[in-house]
């Protein structure tokens, strides 16, 4: 109606019989890894295979928050690298990912919470990440819509602020990486599910059986979020992981009312306003193991009541949508990245509720890991070996809520 319609951003590729690298999982991490393998390491014969549709898993289901408020130096270096890469990603991909560094305000409601956040702020500053602690007045000045009632169930005592944090247009990240990878010859194959992983006599990965035919390859990267553990079982080992449901909500569009990301340490809820005006919100995971991919009413009720306590004006907001994803958590809530017990099989999974913010750094480090067959220095600590050695990266308490 207005000139020529938009063309396809990437080819609809047919699977070839052989690839140098096959990445299982066409979400952010898989596509970013393909992009960096092609651009930085000269590997061009790559397939990204995806069971469903591109970016249709947790990449398209998360609440788009990007931040690097981590306690341990190992996590901090990795996640801050990711924020830095996000800052220039629109230019890198020539695709507007709409990274809005609007600041993340983590509100606390008790002086004992303050001590914990102060510890985190100090750790972040020592790690070279910008962070500051605000008192009650500064918090309410930064985000005036919060419940200022001193007699609230969760009265506001202060907050910790990461100004570099913000939100990203999540689909654009998948689409941008897909288009850029495709332009360098990467085959992106949707609706292609892995049925078996085969190994040669010496134990190396030798190929895959998929719903769209057999593919021979010496290198397979498992980046399938909650599907990863069953893929690893096909290859002959287990992942130390537990599946939970994480819900998210979006409201009807409003005029601009909330110009930062705000989270409550008392109720676990976090909110931001999208560029379309909808209030995007989430909270804690559902409390029991589930593969059902639908949220339970108990958690839904506690998230929504937390929102109303936090910002009473939102009590009459109508929700447009509620959805959930299956998140895969390890014992220490840190991801599993790097080599695996099977030669030729690489892991980038178990992100729990926090994989989206890690996409650019995940792609960059995993591409180097796959190309060199040795873990990139930023991800050495996230090796699956830590569940044998006990050298955990226990960010569960430090990184706040669903991270």
């Amino acid at each position: 109606m207005f000139g020529t319609p938009w063309g396809r951003a990437w080819r609809k590729a047919e699977p070839k019989s052989h690839y140098d690298v096959v990445i299982i999982g066409g979400g952010g991490h898989g596509l970013a890894t393909a992009f960096h393998l092609a651009r930085d390491h000269g590997v061009r014969n790559i397939a990204v295979i995806e069971k469903g549709w591109l970016g249709g898993g947790n990449t398209g289901r998360n609440t788009t928050v990007v931040r690097s408020d981590y306690y341990y130096t190992t996590s901090s270096r990795f996640f801050d690298r990711s924020v830095k890469l996000y800052e220039t990603l629109s230019k890198t991909l020539n695709f507007n990912i709409m990274f809005s560094q609007r600041g993340i305000l983590n509100v606390f409601h008790h002086r004992d919470d303050r001590a914990g956040w102060l510890r985190l702020v100090n750790a972040m500053q020592l790690n070279g990440v910008n962070a500051e602690l605000l008192d009650r007045e500064q918090t309410l000045a930064y985000c005036p819509i919060l419940n200022a009632d001193p007699n609230a169930r969760f009265p506001i005592q202060g907050a910790f602020l990461q100004e570099e944090g913000g939100t990203v247009r999540h689909d654009a990240v998948a689409w941008g990486y897909a288009r850029a990878a495709d332009a360098m010859g990467v085959d992106i194959i949707e609706e292609c599910e892995v049925r078996a992983i085969s190994r040669s006599a010496n134990g190396n990965i030798s190929g895959l059986t998929t719903t769209r035919g057999d593919i021979s390859t010496g290198k397979v990267a498992v980046m399938a979020a909650s599907g990863s553990d069953r893929l690893c079982e096909m290859a002959g080992f287990r992942l130390p992981v537990s599946h939970l449901t994480l819900q998210a909500f979006v409201s009807e569009p409003l005029k601009p009312v909330l110009d930062c990301v705000v989270a409550s340490s008392g109720t676990g809820v976090y909110l931001s306003q999208s560029d379309k005006g909808g209030i995007v919100a989430g909270g804690s995971t559902d409390v029991f193991t589930s593969f059902a991919r639908r949220g339970n009413f108990g958690t839904m009720e506690s998230v929504l009541s937390g929102i109303v306590d936090f910002i009473p004006q939102f009590s009459r907001l109508k929700l447009l949508r509620q959805w959930s994803g299956t998140v895969d958590y390890t014992y220490d809530s840190s991801p599993i990245m790097g080599l695996s017990p099977v030669p030729g099989l690489y892991l980038n999974c178990c992100w729990g509720g926090g994989g989206f913010k890690a996409i650019p750094a995940g792609g960059e480090t995993m591409a180097a890991t796959i190309a060199n067959d040795a873990p990139h220095s930023l991800i050495e600590a996230f090796s699956i070996d830590r569940f044998r050695t006990g050298a955990l990266v226990d960010e569960a308490a430090a990184a706040g809520i669903e991270h």
């Binding site: 130390p240 537990s242 599946h243 569940f387």
Partner: protein, 94 residues
């Protein structure tokens, strides 16, 4: 809302219960004979079934008793409960 059956109080909403994790995990021993691999498995390998999973729950908002059930992690169907300390029911058939 998922419904669970407490052995004493009967069917109640999930919000009255606390999830106690997977059941039927046996601690290997004696300690001096346990290999590092077996111990790491015991510590970190979580039961994570896409299907019927043996679980421990507590009726915290009611009588406070701990019990075992089989729960289907895809459909959220649950089996009859058995009190902790009693033999668990057989795994339900699909």
């Amino acid at each position: 809302m998922m419904q669970l059956r407490c052995p004493y109080c009967g069917e109640r909403d999930e919000t009255e219960f606390r999830f106690g994790g997977p059941a039927a995990i046996i601690r290997p021993g004696p300690p001096e004979q346990v290999s590092d691999e077996a111990w790491a498995d015991f510590l970190y390998q979580m039961n994570n079934e896409a299907g019927w999973q043996a679980e421990r729950w507590c009726h915290v908002g009611g009588c406070g008793s701990w019990f075992h059930i089989w729960r289907h992690t895809l459909t959220h169907d649950v089996s009859q409960p058995t009190l902790v300390g009693r033999p668990m029911a057989e795994r339900p058939v699909e």
